[in-house]
Amino acid sequence: MVFKYLFCSIVVLTAFLGGIDAHAGILNEDIVASDAWVRAMPPSQTNTAAYMVIKNKGPNEVILTSVSSDISESAEIHQMSDMKGMMNMSMVSKLSIPGNGEVVLKPGAYHIMLVNLKKPIKSGEIVQIRLFFKGGTSLNVKAEVREQ
């Protein structure tokens, strides 16, 4: 019984410390988001898109697995692709940011869909977007609402 508790404690402690290490290493040093903005939309619209540049300054690939926002009920990673004049949009479950590389989220390409806005957004407003990466790390990004 004692061994069982000891074993569980070690497992929990290891996971906790592992989480902190990964969090501190990647969060503060390797991943940087810049030029973040959210598209202003008519008040009747309940969805919008967010764009930014996510840069990975570390040598290893980092994988974005999910996103969230304070202004929408849900947030999703989407990809636009133009196949000979046919524009298609699809949700993706992850987005790889290569080591010493970057991924540009921009109109007509990868973007973050903010679905079911809790209230209309206005140009100039600053919204919070949270990026979650494989391994349990995350990054808060401030994005300005603007027309284009």
Partner: protein, 194 residues
């Protein structure tokens, strides 16, 4: 004589290559006048009034198919058109943007009206039954496909052609713009029209 033969060969190869490229990039081969040969179609506008294309002779029309829930391509196009209006100067009075929804289920006339007003351009939002909309889509050789997404909170989305059709004052399609064409390209093309 040799020089002349060389030139003929050069232009022959050039024209052939250009033809191949256009064939690959576009579903229709640059002969835009074949689109909607009757130069008319009928749908309902955002105020519930009947819209006939033929009633808009004398106006330059920028037509595209989209849906208001589309968060990326459609607002990008409308924002670009707002810049086009600014770039063409006084000619803007004669330009009408026509946004045909491919999502009549969600795009009510009221929703279309609010959506288009936001972009502050002279625009009309057209809708109808699915059959009526599909008939117009066919006239312009556009396509769209409803994609049900179980995983996305959006419910469903559309894959759709992303051309912007330039229709001249006589109702004839004279040019197709692509998403990569910027506002200046579009404004310059419009300004060259008579």
């Amino acid at each position: 004589v040799d020089k002349r033969i060389s030139l003929i060969i050069f232009f022959g190869v050039f024209i052939f290559a250009a033809g191949c490229t256009n064939q690959g990039d576009k579903p229709i081969n640059n002969n835009y006048a074949v689109l909607n040969p009757q130069r008319d179609f009928t749908l309902h506008d955002q105020d519930g009034k009947i819209f006939h294309l033929k009633d808009h002779r004398g106006q330059v029309i920028l037509l595209f198919f989209g849906y208001t829930t589309c968060p990326d391509v459609c607002p990008t196009t409308l924002s670009k058109l707002a810049r086009v209006y600014a770039l063409v100067g006084p000619m803007r009075q004669k330009i009408l943007t026509v946004f045909v929804t491919i999502d009549p289920q969600r795009d009510t006339p009221q929703k279309l009206k609010e959506y288009l007003q936001y972009f502050n351009i002279n625009a009309m939002g057209l809708s109808g039954t699915k059959q009526e909309i599909d008939a117009v889509v066919d006239l312009y050789k556009a396509t769209y496909e409803k994609v049900n997404t179980n995983s996305s909170a959006l419910g469903y989305m559309f894959d759709h052609t992303d051309y912007l059709y330039l229709i001249d004052r006589q109702g004839t399609t004279s040019h197709l713009f692509h998403p990569e064409d910027n506002a200046q390209d579009i404004a310059d093309t419009i300004k060259r029209m008579n």
